[in-house]
Symmetry: none
Subunit: 221 residues, 4 copies
């Protein structure tokens, strides 16, 4: 009872009609889809809504992406490409092991806080058992990051700073856990504990706390 006969609205009021620019159209669809999917999930998202918010028609979505799952997967790829790029920019090799780790924690922390839609999409994809991620042509850039982390850890172990029974994947998981959770689960957390995990004051404290936890965990006993 909420929508009262919307379709026959004639000429769309004041919308900048777009010239034929396939690549721009594609990007436009992808960006809107990213919002729609991250807010409503795969089954909750509506193709109609995406089409409406885009300057194009529903047909174009199918033309470019084939199906609803197709766009979802394209969004996912785009998001992973984004974080991949950021990781590539991170300078770790010139730093002392403890400094390098702190830098890595802080970068992860900042990225997750700055990209809640990415965090939502990852949570969502896990609810789908990662089936779309698995069938997507995501290149193994992640192992690049793991290998760089391995380097840092090895240096730390050699210098007697870090314990030697934890591998890079474990450490990566711990860092991700601490940085991801506070973004991913901020809503239930707030509902239960009345605390806004993303508020500026909490943020500074957590950033230090998380780095401390990781370094404490790695400390040679």
């Amino acid at each position: 009872m909420s929508k009262t006969a919307s379709p026959p609205s004639g000429a769309r009021a004041g919308r900048p009609k777009r010239k034929n620019d396939p690549e721009a159209t594609r990007r436009d669809i992808l960006e809107i889809a990213r919002q729609e999917f991250s807010q409503n999930g795969l089954s909750g998202a509506r193709i109609d809504v995406i089409a409406e918010r885009t300057r194009t028609s529903k047909h174009m979505i199918y033309y470019y992406f084939g199906s609803k799952e197709g766009i979802y997967q394209a969004v996912l790829e785009m998001e992973y490409a984004g974080i991949r790029e950021r990781e590539g920019e991170l300078e770790l090799e010139g730093l002392a092991p403890r400094e390098a780790l702190r830098r890595l924690v802080e970068a992860t922390f900042d990225y997750d806080q700055a990209h809640p839609e990415f965090v939502s999409l990852v949570s969502m994809e896990n609810l789908h058992h990662a089936e779309y991620l698995e069938s997507a042509p995501i290149r193994d850039i992640n192992s690049v990051m793991i290998r760089r982390l391995e380097g840092v850890l090895a240096r730390g172990v050699r210098q007697g700073l870090f314990r030697s029974d934890l591998d890079a994947v474990d450490v990566h998981m711990a860092i991700s856990s601490l940085c991801f959770f506070r973004v991913a689960n901020r809503y239930t957390f707030k509902a239960l504990f009345k605390r806004d995990l993303l508020s500026p004051r909490v943020r500074a404290r957590h950033k230090r706390m998380i780095a401390d936890a990781i370094l404490g965990m790695l400390a040679a006993s």
Copy 2:
């Protein structure tokens, strides 16, 4: 008097049907709904499927829970009641501060690993911005857990074991992060790093690692 026709009456082989036991019907629906929702999400879950797997009809679901959102919320409440109960059983007060914390970490770790459906539902609820949790009559048992944790931390601080600038909610968040992530995000993690986070070998290592991280984080510097 004695209706001896009809399907196998005693043995529960085929389908009992028609029990006129409302509490059992309710529980039956809830249990099936829990599976369906945790696997498919709120919009992905199908009322038809729940009804089909239950001994009851679609109508009964509406009779007892009013709407799809209604059952979803009931499932959520049930799940939170479950973890609440477990937390209540945990003995912390008799232990030394470090031991108590380790015990708490291990209990959280075990609970999350043992209840992946709970973990899924919490992730899902965050994607919904916790709107169903907020409107559910979840009692404030969480603050009970927080208060007990506060007690442990205070003892540790008094004994010079723990640093004093972290409060119980922060520590709870860190513990939850480390225990929750490896269950919640195991699928994308596996897709990217080819490692099964729930395998027995990994599990033992992580349990220790996480406790170490928490204790390292709290260690008085």
Copy 3:
């Protein structure tokens, strides 16, 4: 989304449990049904609502009335019995023809204004092409009224007061039209003309106006 799991409310809070009194139960159901049908129509009325507002269960409704149509018809009969009774009480024979007619108009006017639910049910029944009225055992008391009106008209014609080419059924129809419409159609009338046809001030003016119209119509030319 408006009703949130109502049924399992356990023991109905503070409801005067009724002792077994079949006739009272029947009357109770009928009265509630009258309200529900007059407000929502035959297909719009809900058996559940009637049962809920009654002190009895749905089963009783079927026990006493057989079906939804059954109660509707019983309500209709009750309503027609009511107006029949009022008409019987009306004294016309002792009055001069014009006075008798004015009295009849006023009685009809007052009855319709005082019984908007009756008016609704009659409108409704016409939308159903009077199929329930026709199959109801309504006795021909209406022809009694017609016969009394014939008497009045005949007297008036004999005394040279009334024209002779209108019969009692025509006159009855005219009276009914003028008295019924302002109650039956008061909502659309108000929506279109912003006038409340049942307000006290309008009422007095209309009562006189309608009697004038009938007498003017009958006046020997």
Copy 4:
């Protein structure tokens, strides 16, 4: 190029289908809906039935009208637009006051008799307390008719033909009552009095009778 397969393309025998003519589709739906609603009421009407009798699918109904209430309201608007148009065509200004009134009565009489579906919809809408009419964008053409009637009455009063204590809305109500009732209530009337109010013979007599009643009511005493 030339698809010559498929059903009889030219002759509209079977079912044209797939016209891609939105305005025609809309009109088609509205016309069928008008019949279905006037026969079965808002809650009694079936979307399935409308869809089936239309050349379109159920979805199109929602596409164009949003909801069941949406079409109902659209039908209502269409019907009121219809009577509005007829009223606009009526010539009253050139006639003597009594002639003008008689003309107006006869036009109203004829319109109601010729449009029993309109009459049904108005009765129905009153049972709904005019809620759909009130929220519909019906323009105030009705006050146009009232203003023209005011003109006629003023002329009559000035010429000493009409009494001066009745306003145009009262007179309009009286005319409507007499013309509307015999169409709206013909079924219960026939059930009770065995008289068909719409039969040609009765019709002629009533038309005169009603005009007489109105003029008698207005006659300066």
